[in-house]
């Protein structure tokens, strides 16, 4: 067991557990109660607020503080830009404004000339137990403080300061759950390791995690075999995946913060493609169970109480739960080619959703009620999204390589997927309307992404 134990630097967790230290009385911002946010910054005539995010101030002027100030400011700009809820003063324009030297020394008139509605000011300083980062947003029109937070944590992961501030800013200013603190998991062959025990030179795939923007990539499994189709548990603390460690495919769970591993299924038949129920108590799994037809089964997280959900003489696979937990969408080839269907968790209410060759559904989180999937559109696949209310389908990719395995961000506004458009298989993210494509992995082949819940949801 020890060999599977992970040594995570739990910088993010440490950060979350810190309560911001109190500012001196003179700098004390007004108490920020979620129910009395009166300082929401708005744009002109209902347009998106226009923010300036100048470089953060290094209060302690050593090289590390300066470097952290630069990173936090830049990452916060990227994080805030990700949801398209704000407009921004271009970065090169920021440099024409005199640099602030403290959190209160703000050239409001200059920002006003640039039509900024708000200015985000940050300061970084070394303190006894690590680094303290202060983030404020001022309303440029009335000079009032719209947001003020202070974070103290180790300097190990400066980006985490920005991610946390970004999620809090979105929550307070836009009533939106941001995704800056969420993570991706995916399968990768980047380490070039080979499987033992076969004469074919077969590359292993291991499970990795990364921040939502692709930074801080870390390996989760060290199983030296094929490990695929990772899925975050709803509490964001575990990842279920299909591992060939015992020969055939079986479902394993890695508890990433404890560094432990569980074997949910133990054969002899193969089991693949675990999907978590929204409450995290059950998994839906595809398995042939000794027949020549793969069907869906529901099983408790500990592997007990196996229950058959579909029983058709076709392949029924790739399950995904509805956010309510009442329904499961899946793929069946009962008509001769893969199509997407839904079925009630009690086995009733079977319904077909697609007409073209369609595969690998993923149900969106609420409030959206959508299913993203891979549609065969030519030699490869493209990502499509089906709105369950209107049955309208929109296509997010257009034949740039093959595009597979869509996974929704926890707020439903973005989709991660695998694409071959840049050569090897890589993870990309794209906004739900098909804009803002970003490549988040670059080394080796990376595929089958899944997007974690946001920490706020995990603390519910």
């Amino acid at each position: 067991m020890a060999k599977f134990i992970l040594t995570f630097a739990l910088a993010v967790l440490a950060l979350q557990s810190q309560t911001p230290p109190q500012l001196p009385a003179s700098q004390q911002p007004p108490p920020q109660q979620p129910s009395e946010v009166s300082t929401t910054i708005s744009g002109d005539g209902g347009s998106a607020p226009r923010l300036a995010v100048p470089d953060f101030i290094a209060v302690t002027t050593d090289a590390e503080s300066v470097a952290i100030a630069r990173i936090v400011g830049q990452v916060l700009w990227d994080d805030l830009n990700y949801e398209r809820e704000f407009q921004f003063i271009p970065r090169d324009v920021n440099s024409t404004i005199p640099k602030a030297t403290s959190l209160t020394d703000i050239p409001f008139d200059r920002w006003r000339e640039l039509n900024a509605d708000g200015v985000v000011v940050g300061a970084v300083q070394k303190v006894a137990n690590g680094v303290r980062v202060d983030v404020r947003i001022y309303n440029v029109r009335n000079h009032q403080t719209a947001f003020s937070r202070s974070y103290t944590a180790s300097s190990a992961n400066p980006r985490a300061f920005a991610h946390m501030a970004s999620d809090e800013i979105f929550k307070m200013q836009r009533s939106l759950n941001g995704v800056a603190q969420s993570k991706l998991t995916f399968a990768s062959d980047r380490d070039g390791e080979r499987m033992g025990g076969t004469v074919e030179s077969r590359q292993v795939k291991e499970i990795y995690i990364a921040d939502y923007d692709g930074e801080n990539q870390r390996r989760v499994t060290v199983l030296k075999t094929l490990n695929t189709f990772p899925r975050w548990s709803p509490d964001g603390r575990s990842i279920a995946y299909t591992s060939y460690r015992r020969g055939g495919g079986q479902i394993f769970i890695s508890n990433i913060y404890q560094g432990t591993i569980e074997e949910v299924t133990k054969g002899p038949t193969e089991n693949w493609l675990a999907a978590w129920s929204p409450d995290g108590s059950k998994l839906c799994i595809a398995s042939p169970r000794g027949t020549s037809h793969t069907n869906l089964y529901v099983v408790n997280r500990d592997g007990s109480a196996f229950r058959q959900l579909t029983s058709d003489r076709s392949n029924n696979t790739t399950p995904t739960w509805s956010p309510s937990g009442n329904q499961i969408a899946f793929v069946s080839d009962r008509t001769g080619q893969p199509q997407i269907y839904t079925i009630g968790v009690d086995g009733t209410g079977f319904s077909r959703l697609t007409a073209d060759y369609s595969d690998r559904p993923t149900w969106s989180p609420a409030p959206y009620n959508e299913i993203a999937f891979s549609a065969r559109t030519g030699p490869g696949f493209d990502i499509r999204v089906l709105d369950l209310a209107t049955r309208n389908v929109r296509q997010l990719t257009n034949g740039e390589g093959t595009n597979e395995s869509p996974a929704f961000s926890p707020n439903g506004r973005h989709i991660a997927f695998t694409s071959t458009r840049s050569g090897k298989k890589q993870i990309f993210t794209i906004a739900r309307d098909g804009r803002d494509l970003r490549q988040v992995t670059h080394t080796g082949n990376n595929e089958q992404p899944d997007w974690s819940p946001s920490p706020k949801e995990t603390q519910r």
Binding site: T198, V199, E200, R202, K205, L226, T228, F229, Y244, G247, G248, G249, E270, W272, L273, A286, P288, S292, H293, T294, N315, T317, T318, V331, D333, Q337, P338, D359, R360, S374, P379, G380, F381, E404, S405, E447, Q448
Partner: protein, 192 residues
């Protein structure tokens, strides 16, 4: 076993002798006459055949050559150059072709001869389906090969199934020539 070896060794010698008679070792290939030349003259120009050589003595006639390479080989060597030939499939299909059945007939014969072998039947797919769907398709292919072997009298206990979907292509290419090699049931001997 010894008798079999001896019989095979004899057969080898006979074959070698017969071979020697047919092809004199000093004979050179004769270029065909140019198409424009009138036929008939070629043979007349051929040098006289050398005298028939006697059968060359076998260099190591006394030592019985290990003719059963399969029994002698290690599992790795066996799988590296496997006597169990893969079975190939059409796109999105797990139906066994006539050629596939013929190949499985030979696999069944070998598994009967080497009755202690345990075999893993791997199902593989080309890259055109999704990674997820191909797991079920690969399983169906491996299952079809296994069911056919069982129908020929091979115990199902000796045949373990694994589907790898499109994870391990045998040919990394992206054309039909590669795809047709990658849609297969592949056999790995895991114990002998």
């Amino acid at each position: 076993m010894k008798r079999t070896l001896m019989a095979m060794a004899v057969a080898c010698v006979v074959a070698a002798v017969a071979c020697g008679k047919k092809t004199p070792p000093v004979a050179r290939p004769i270029p065909p006459p140019p198409p424009t030349a009138a036929g008939g003259g070629g043979d007349a120009n051929r040098p006289p055949a050398p005298p028939e050589p006697v059968a060359p003595p076998l260099s190591v006639p006394a030592v019985p050559v290990p003719t059963d390479n399969i029994s002698a080989a290690s599992l790795d060597d066996l799988n590296r150059n496997s006597p169990l030939k893969p079975v190939f499939f059409e796109l999105d299909s797990a139906d066994l072709s006539r050629d596939g059945q013929k190949s499985l007939d030979e696999t069944a014969a070998l598994m009967k001869k080497y009755s202690s072998w345990m075999v893993t039947v791997e199902g593989h797919c080309d890259e055109r389906g999704t990674a997820e769907y191909n797991l079920a398709l690969g399983e169906r292919r491996a299952g079809a090969a296994r069911a056919y072997l069982v129908s020929l009298g091979i115990s199902g206990d000796r045949l373990h199934i694994v589907s790898y979907g499109k994870e391990f292509p045998f040919d990394p290419g992206h054309d039909e020539a590669a795809f047709s090699k990658n849609r297969r049931a592949h056999f790995v001997i895991t114990a002998k």
